[in-house]
Symmetry: C2
Subunit: 160 residues, 2 copies
């Protein structure tokens, strides 16, 4: 995969979490998702369709510990469980990550518009990508637990 095109998503994710939730996060090594490998999908996830340069999507999934901490810092109250307000917030997070990454991708000559977040709650829920082949997973670590983002694009630019 082209690190150049993945990097904007990593930077956008770190920036959004740092700015909006005062949470620092550390990316681990990106990998191509294999069909057979069982993945830990997190407890809540959201995916957003991207169109323009090519078709694709960006998704984000959080462990419960991680998203409850983010909610506390972003919304200013403590939560015991994932509720509708937190679902909305996860939608906002992926929307912001998509927006920030797309702003960087424009500088590389790649122009995308974004759809609206589709949410999935519950452990091992699959993020449904609009281009399901060749999904790139980027795991992140925070002091409050793990999360990951996934990107999937149908252009060779992203895969070579």
């Amino acid at each position: 995969m082209k690190v150049e095109y993945i990097q904007p998503f990593i930077l956008a994710t770190r920036k959004v979490l740092s700015t909006m939730a005062f949470m620092e996060s550390k990316p681990r090594k990106p990998y191509l998702k294999s069909d057979n490998k069982f993945e830990d999908y997190g407890d809540i996830s959201a995916v957003i369709e991207l169109k323009g340069e090519c078709k694709g999507s960006i998704g984000v999934g959080f462990s419960q510990d991680c998203i409850l901490k983010i909610a506390q810092q972003m919304l200013g109250e403590e939560f015991a469980d994932i509720n509708d307000e937190i679902s909305d917030m996860v939608g906002e997070l992926v929307n912001m990550i998509s927006g920030d990454a797309r702003r960087e991708l424009v500088k590389l000559g790649l122009n995308f518009t974004a759809g609206i977040p589709v949410l999935a709650r519950g452990h091992q829920q699959h993020i449904k990508h609009f281009v399901p082949e060749r999904v790139i997973v980027i795991p992140f670590q925070t002091d409050a637990g793990s999360f990951f983002i996934e990107t999937a694009f149908d252009s060779k630019k992203f895969l070579e």
Copy 2:
């Protein structure tokens, strides 16, 4: 104009400011912008292109007092002036308002994708809409000062 299609933008604006910046806002009467009327455009504004159902855009502009208060509550520190960090935040705000409104518009059968925010700083800067005719202005009042949103669409659905 169709209140039905303007309402999602008003609700999205109030929700985003209330959730993200703990700020309540009160919409005033929407009006069609007249070419000749001199408008107070606020001290910082951002506009985002919408595509799909029809072409259009959603913009938001803030007075300095209002955006400095929002920045304080959203970013957790005090600011004396509008800086790059606040510009970024205004971009995030219009991105979130667009996302939330588009999620509601889908329920009315109107499907839009969104571009990336274009920022303008400085008093009486014009928001540049992608469809400049028939701009609808919705002023808002908050305890910290005024702001407004503008929508412009080239579909009769929004104008009749």
